[in-house]
Subunit: 198 residues, 2 copies
């Protein structure tokens, strides 16, 4: 947490600076962050502006999200809602499904922000940290897809699960960043998975 | 070309607007672009500023590089100079060498600009076009590594060469964009290549 000495000002403020999150306040803050990004882009997002719009105390914001980057990632994550990856019965099918879900999400207005988050992270260490934490969570999530393949007895065992997850993520990010979300997900899945299964 | 009606102003200008490039003028322009990016970052690069610093006509700049994005990519490409990828005797070794060369280059001051080029391209269509042209050239270059493996009889033939090149590039860009240029290139090469060779 960067700032802890501040407190809410005036009766109109929501919530409290208590450690337990108030769901209504949390939703109001994330709504405000989302609306500001939609109106002004990532560069327009400041803790100050979010607090004002959500009628929340800045101390509350900083307590729950220590940096602007962490708040931005939380807002992105809330609207992502891809849920669990489908079980198609094979690793190749599962990886194809992951890529299709990601490309569909990133192609929607609320998902298109992710390329700008990656871009802004290149010059913003706080956002880079928040993105890295999020990326590690997504690698964990991809590892569940790999674990399913292992349970099916599909894997050769020669390649670590984490490395497979990285390869899938690399293929996905590359196509996001060059605006090729219409690319061939099935071909990508085949390219990646052939060496991992027996 | 965006502008063609301009001509050099005054005797101090270098070069001409002829179709043949004057190597000294080209070098002066790319030097100027590189110096401006080093001093002010990508956002500080304008055709106007480059022309002034290089004492070249703006028409010359636009004739040789139709957009600011194209000029920026040309400056990046000139200083990259990785040359041909080494032949290590196996596809896995070659892919590892490619990743090592890229990570070493991107880790140097003059190479670190590439992550910012990718970032800036997310909000700049001209730069995105120039980056995409460059990316296709790099995929061609990676295809020569794959062709070498084919000539050795290493490949199973099940995965198209272009898809392999994309997977290698995706792994590389991912690690650039999250600042993990110290990651395990040998493990990545193994992860990627296992399914492509017999």
């Amino acid at each position: 947490m960067r700032k802890s000495g501040e407190s809410g000002q005036g009766d109109a403020k929501r919530g409290s600076i208590g450690a337990r999150r108030n769901p209504a306040t949390e939703a109001a803050i994330l709504d405000a962050a989302e609306a500001i990004v939609a109106e002004k882009g990532i560069a327009g997002l400041s803790m100050e502006a979010v607090a004002r719009r959500a009628r929340a105390g800045k101390a509350t914001l900083y307590r729950w999200w220590p940096t602007r980057g962490a708040l931005l990632m939380a807002a992105y994550e809330r609207q992502k809602q891809i849920g669990a990856y489908p079980d198609t019965g094979s690793l190749e099918g599962d990886v194809e499904a992951v890529l299709r879900l990601l490309f569909a999400h990133w192609g929607r207005p609320e998902g298109s922000i992710f390329r700008h988050i990656i871009a802004a992270a290149q010059g913003d260490p706080d956002l880079a940290d928040a993105l890295e934490r999020y990326r590690q969570e997504r690698l964990d999530s991809l590892a569940t897809v790999i674990a399913r393949a292992e349970a099916r007895g599909e894997l050769s065992g020669e390649v670590p699960a984490r490395d497979m997850a990285r390869a899938v993520m690399g293929m996905a990010w590359l196509h996001l960043l060059v605006g090729r979300l219409d690319a061939d997900a099935a071909g990508m899945a085949r390219t990646l998975v052939r060496g991992w299964v027996t």
